[in-house]
Amino acid sequence: MGTILIVAEIQKGVIREASFELAAFAQKLAGSGHEVKSLVVGQGVKGLAEEFAQRGGGEVLVAEAEALANYSADAFTQATLAAVAASGADLVLISNTPSGWDFAPRVAAALDAAFVTDCFDVSDEGGAIGFKRRIFNGKLDAQVKATGTVVATVQPGATPAFEGSTEGKTTDLDAGIGECKTKFVEIKIAESKGVDLTKADVIVSGGRGLGAPEKFTEVVQPLADALGGAMGASRPVVDAGWLPHEYQVGSSGQVVTPKLYIAVGISGAIQHLVGMKGSNFIVAINKDPDAPIFEVADVGVVADLFDIVPALTAAVTAAKG
């Protein structure tokens, strides 16, 4: 029976959906006797804090300072440490977003606390808090036990957002932000170089299973062309320089929802699944029957892609007459 501190995240002037997902986990734990408090940081965020207090945040500490207007690892770490001290929290929940994974480890190290990351489940195991998370890029799951004060980051989308209302209140927190060595300069939106996969009805994506860059033109592109669709790729393909970044489907690339998504030689690391699991119909072709891609696929083919894809291309071409 302890106190949970949710660190909410503001993005583009609103509280992120992921923060309400943290509230869902926290409110579930509140059912087993844990108290829920939250932290909202930024500048001019009182209104957002009041909203969060009523939508799952409970008692919300509001840390406002010029140094918190934009994200910086140092300032957010200091604000969170001040909130932990003020709230007496023994479980700190932070979303595993680009800012969350940047400062949460610093908070844990400063508190000499247990640190568990990218959890998809947080539950009360009779007093202790249990966590579940993916390892080996989603090929295995792990059940993790943490003792003492715990800082945990939670995978966005792991649970539906909290929909209920809470009797909350807001309290100002003087976070006393000191020296910040990391300085925010600006956010740049990468220019699109012409490959807009988000508008394609059909996407055929290739992964590391293709084995070589020329296989994309020989095997993947012809199927995409036959279906009148676009070609995509997984992160390892882009990292290896086989295709430019704009082909990448995934959380750090393009998030796509075509009518048909065909994954060829893609094992299905979580960052790829996040980018395509909203597709209307998913076909996965992979020789590894345990590949996580089959979890999200509607139809799976466990076979050598170099046998299946050319046959499929020929059959599609024939079907078109």
Partner: protein, 260 residues
């Protein structure tokens, strides 16, 4: 300039992942290991800075005897010397325990820059690098996609979601945890591999670094209780048969979607 690069040796990306007898990790006997791919990008970024000017690149890794192979590879690629923390007492350490050992090395070596990979391909924790920075009193940035250095100020681009980048400035010394894909990683040349044999490799224990009582299973606050194959959801409907039979069935599905 001195650059420290933190490397982890992890199971090869093609290695079989069989769950160990105690159910708490994978069976690591008789599988191949390699340098964690994110860390190869970290090493490459350090070597690029060395190529562009004067720098000593020190590769650091923690783990059993097999880790010397990873460090020899790093030396072969161009690192100048290596530090191997080889200590059975570290068995069962959590991220914080590992970070304490690396932070002790950072304090001892006083590098201008510390590079690490964003996360490891095995545990996927992404925890250690910023923890090291916090414990060593350094600023840090993660998911770094580009690095430029001028007059003691490092400017990095961090990867955000949906193709956006965040530009951040940090003073040296600082720690950068790099995202995969920020450069093209070189291979160790034959000449490099030969030269590596003469490069120094120090072996240390946690006790040598003054943190012997803060590592290992006894000090760990996080314990993996069980690893298991993720429960399958409804899963995919599997189509079997010859390539042509599979293709015919798939064309049927695509027609049902109204796409043919």
């Amino acid at each position: 300039m001195k650059i420290l690069v933190c490397l982890k040796q992890v199971p090869h990306s093609d290695a079989r992942l069989d769950i160990a007898g105690d159910g708490k990790w994978i069976q690591e006997d008789n599988i191949k290991f390699e340098i964690n791919s994110y860390d190869t990008y970290a090493l490459e970024e350090a070597l690029k800075l060395k190529d562009a000017g004067e720098a000593e690149v020190v590769a650091v890794s923690i783990g059993p005897d097999r880790v010397t192979q990873a460090l020899r590879t790093a030396l072969g690629m161009g690192a100048d010397r290596a530090i191997h923390v080889n200590d059975p007492a570290m068995e069962g350490s959590d991220s914080l325990g590992i970070a304490k050992v690396l932070a002790a090395i950072v304090k001892e070596e006083s590098p201008d820059l510390v590079f690490a990979g964003l996360m490891s391909e095995d545990g996927n924790f992404a925890a250690v690098p910023p923890m090291v920075a916090q414990l060593a009193g350094l600023p840090s940035s993660t998911a770094v996609m580009s690095v430029s250095l001028a007059d003691g100020t490092v400017t990095v681009e961090r990867e955000l979601e949906g193709g956006a980048l965040e530009v951040v400035q940090l003073p040296t010394p600082c720690l950068l945890a790099v995202q995969s894909g920020l450069n093209q990683v070189r291979y160790a040349s034959l000449k490099g591999i030969m030269a590596a044999k003469k490069k120094p490799m120090d072996t240390k224990t946690a006790a040598d670094l003054g943190v012997g009582d803060q590592v290992g299973a006894g000090a760990a606050k996080v314990e993996i209780e069980k690893v298991y194959t993720p429960p399958r959801g409804e899963g995919a409907q599997l189509i079997e048969g010859s390539a042509d039979e599979v293709a015919t069935q798939l064309v049927g599905k695509i027609k049902e979607l109204g796409l043919l």
